[in-house]
Structures are given as structure tokens and as C-alpha cells.
Symmetry: C2
Subunit: 102 residues, 2 copies
Amino acid sequence: MYVSMSRLRVAASESGALVDAFRARAHLVDDAPGFIDLEVWRSDRDPEEILRVSRWTARGAFAAYMRSDEHRASRGRIEPALQAAIKLERLEHPHTYEVVAT
Amino acid sequence: MYVSMSRLRVAASESGALVDAFRARAHLVDDAPGFIDLEVWRSDRDPEEILRVSRWTARGAFAAYMRSDEHRASRGRIEPALQAAIKLERLEHPHTYEVVAT
């Protein structure tokens, strides 16, 4: 199993709007081959810190999705005003992990 | 749902031993009230970075486990030599999150 984690930082005043945007997401990723699930986590100590965590059967499935039209469409749906409020930490690349034990 | 994430840093030469230790864990936590699951993630870009991620039905369940004898017993099982090789990042407190969207 393979995990992609993006750490987003957003002004506290925009934190609720970002969570709402995730709740209203188009679920385009859900049908991607090898996709398992996606969760959005918000720190209970720091509402500015939001993690987007997706799990995949294997690294190759995630890599294929990142190259897909669905991924581009998904990105395009976020409102520009909200997008501007988000700062991706350690920019561009998501952190990726193999699940090595359970 | 509630998530606790500890970021461990370990010398690359000890990374395999740490993963093995997690695979051989006593599963004492598995019967804790409110426990859902535990995964251990290792970065595929940086074998020194290992995340321990546990999910709970609610914050209170995690807090109760942290105060329990099972938690102390679980900690005590890690070999001192391996324990010495682990550096907990942003020490002591795990990062904790509410799952706000799926």
C-alpha cells in the first residue's frame, strides 16, 4: 500500500472554507485504478494545518493518477480565491510513503 | 474520527530494524476502546523518515489510551538499542488531527 500526503497551510479564517471545499469535492479520484481512500485531517491544535492523505494499492497507481486528466480537472475545481489562500508546504511534491507495517 | 501521528527519524542503517520491530509489535493497542487501526509509513524518498499513524473513533479514546497501562507496556517493549537510535521529531507530543472530510 502507498500513501500520498500533502500538507496545506491556510489562514485560520479560511480553514472552514477549505474543509467545506473538500467535503464538496467531485470525487473524480474515487474511480482511479488503485485508489483506496482519501481523508482530510485538520490539526486540533492548529486549524491552519490541514493534511490531505490518499491511499493507493501501489506507487504506480498514484503516479498514473498524477498524470491523468482527472487529476487536472480536480485541481481546476478549487475556487481561485481559496486556492490563493492555500500555501502548500515544502512545495510541489506530496510526501509519499510505503505502508510497511500495520 | 481522530488521528495521532508521530514522526520518527532513525538512521538509515536502523530503518529496517525499526520496521521489523513494528511488524513484531505486541498489538496491545488493538483492544483499546475506540482504536480503529495503526499503520507505519516509511518515506520512499527518505528511509530515515518513518510515520506511525493511529486512528481512533474520537479524541477521548486516544487520550484514555495514552494514560493506560497498555501504553506504558507497549513503550517498554522497544529494545533500548533501537530506542536510542530513534529521534522523535518535534519531540514528545504526537501530532493529532480530526478527520474532517473523506
